[in-house]
Amino acid sequence: MTGFLMLVTVFLIAGVIAVPLAARLGLGSVLGYLIAGIAISPILQWLNVDIIQIQHFAEFGVVMMLFLVGLELDPKMLWAMRQRLLGLGGMQVSVTTILIAAIAMAFGLQWSVSLAIGMVFALSSTAIVLQTLNEKGLMQSQGGQGSFQVLLFQDIAVIPMLALLPLLALPEVAEHATQVSDSHGAHGGNAHGEDGHDDHGSMSLVEGRPGWQVGLITLAAVGSIGFIGSVLTRPLFRFVTMANLREVFVATALALVVGIALLMSLVGLSPALGTFLAGVVLANSEYRHELESDIDPFRGLLLGLFFMTVGAAINFGLLADNFVLVVGITLGVMLLKAGVLYVLARVFKLAGADRWLFTLGLAQAGEFGFVLLSFTVANNVIPQDIAQIALLVVAMSMLLTPALFIAYERLILPRLIDAQEQAADEIDHRSKIIVVGYGRFGGIVARMLRQIGEQPVLVDYSAKQLEALRKFDVKVFFGDGTRADLLHAAGIEDAKMLIIAIDGKEQVTHLTEHVARHHSHVHIVARAYDRPHVYDLYQAGAHDIIRETFDSAVRAGRSAYEALGIHPFQAERLAQKFKKTDRQLLVATASVHKPGVPVSENEDFIALAKELNAQMEEELQGAKAGFGIEGADGWTPPPAKIAVDTPEEKD
């Protein structure tokens, strides 16, 4: 137990120190984690920790990340980019694999070993690249999209690769390899499961079955993801939300992701791909933002851990002995990958900054390389010593990636300002509005926004309400809009306006405070419960404060006027006058408002209110004497005499 706690403490502290430092220096979190990993590797060695095992566990972060990526992509978008996915991704993987294999053969390696190494190096690091693109806000750029398409294809390509690799087995390394697979196998927490074949303890639904059965089972598994995502989740989430406990929802979300990963492993498919598909299926779900904000912290922690293990796993002894070789191969591989990417970018019409982002961003080898390497060793495809060097190359190239992103930002971008500006035009200009609380109040606001063609993001915490709204084809996201992470998932960072239409007085105030402080660019329209709440919201930084019952009550008063026989236009004027007076009273009494003290217990407030009321009454009566009716000042003709004699009167 202490050992475990010790381990967790070491990792956490390392991350907590290194990442902010790296961010401070503009290096990005990934490099921070990698450096942290290197820094703690002696401690880990001293603690006798199996870093590779932790790494396999941490790879689950990649699975979660793909789930989140899927959530952002609905099936329509995926279909729309199929050509680029296959073209860009397919070309990148095949051309890079063949070139690297050819070069390896030229250096005298066997063709089968060369081909395996080609595959290992052809894959890039989904974890690093997506994390960095997101962090730098480059995901939506053309270059970011292209990178994403290639990464997605690679993640899919891992599956046939894993199927092909065993066919390349070398008899002469087989004997040597049995020992390796013994020491390397049996780590149950392996998230990727691809190398589950050599895991003694792992289960499989497909092993030893005839091909047609395997096909059927695989189809059924993929189909069940679609079923779970589109049919099962809704009633499940509704059931869970009845408990109204956040952690239960988090647990459900985790169970969903882990469960799908397990299912995929059981049928020998990539868990990353499986959860990605589940994400895509759920992209249109009203629970999307809630899922996103629940899974995201786990993804972040696991990926951080993963990057640290990459840093920690670098075998410095081996590196020192083969330093020139490793650095040489690393640079060679990256150069070659970049070359292929650059040409592809040209062919697929990525220009300017986007082309460079694409070229530099994907030039490394990635975490799937680790997976393939351990798998190839286990299947006697690559001899152990070559695999060790290759492992160092992969790690080294990942270590260099953040440097390439920095080079992109510092060296390339400044020269391409023009191209960049052009690209910026393509960004969606639609203003983004978030409505929190889609009930009787927020619903009306949202409908009014739709009337002018806005598509506000709607968030509500009542599953019952959601169910009812579905019938009207209104898309509302499930979630507690007062939570910072949910606001983040709903896109508060680039939102223009937030409309707070929830019930709870305190919650409205807190949300207003939070958003005013952390997202000062957002215009806040807040629903106030009563007059004191208006003051609270004003202090909290709301821009527009709307008393929830005030306007409708004024209208009721106006109807009463009309029913009393007052001319409708006069009734309107009187209502306006009432509003104005009330507003004056609101402003005048603001100075004596004490937060948290009810008005009925606030002596100063009572005294001032009384005084102001008396004053106003006096004024109104004055008005009556002068103009004939209260509130109807205006359109009053002068006394007859003056009207007749106007010019003379002046002299």
Binding site: H567, F569, E572, W635, P637, P638
Partner: protein, 200 residues
């Protein structure tokens, strides 16, 4: 003729002259009577409804107190919205062709105030040229307004009833086609005492 009267007075509670006119015409049958400020207290004029009213009427009258040599603002709003291109004027805008367009106006100032020598500087008809030209552009026949001068003095002197009674006569005559349009059209303005000459 089908007569449509638009009444507009934002200060209904302190109206005397126009109120007297309303009371006098209250019992007149077969006339469509619209209180613009009561119908649209928030100025949200319904163009379709208003155009339908115009289509079913032959004489369109505006009854209002003269405010700043012009109409109370809602009549302007009404004009701006209802007299659409393609409806009232312009290509295809012939829906009002041949209808009569006129006013019943109360003025605070006495008759002498209107004209080059008076303190209001211009003849009332000169000040009303926007209304007259509006009728012309919309292919309508402009009929001189039925006017009360010195409304403020007369209301102090309780002298409003001849005018109000005259307004009733005028509307009934229009409804029953009793107005000699040629004679009436030749007048500058029509006051209560002129009615005998223009009504057959």
């Amino acid at each position: 003729m089908k007569v449509l009267v638009y009444q507009a007075h934002p200060g209904a509670p302190h109206s005397e002259a126009n109120k007297a006119m309303d009371v006098a015409t209250d019992a007149v049958e077969g006339i469509e009577f619209v209180d613009l400020y009561a119908t649209y207290p928030r100025f949200d004029i319904d163009v379709e409804v208003e155009q339908a009213r115009l289509l079913r009427s032959d004489a369109i009258l505006f009854q209002y107190p003269l405010f700043w040599y012009s109409t109370p603002s809602i009549i302007k709003e009404w004009q701006d919205l209802v007299l659409e291109h393609g409806f009232a004027y312009g290509s295809g805008g012939d829906k009002l062709t041949g209808k009569i367009w006129s006013m019943g106006i109360t003025c605070g100032a006495p008759e002498e105030a209107y004209g080059a020598e008076g303190y209001n500087g211009f003849a009332l008809r000169t000040l009303l040229t926007p209304m007259e030209q509006t009728a012309r552009l919309c292919h309508m026949t402009f009929l001189p307004p039925y006017v009360l001068y010195g409304a403020l003095a007369k209301r102090e002197a309780h002298g409003l009833s001849p005018h109000a009674e005259g307004w009733r006569r005028w509307l009934i005559a229009l409804r029953d086609d009793q107005v000699d349009l040629t004679k009436a059209g030749a007048c500058d303005v029509i006051q209560a005492e002129d009615l005998n000459e223009v009504i057959r």
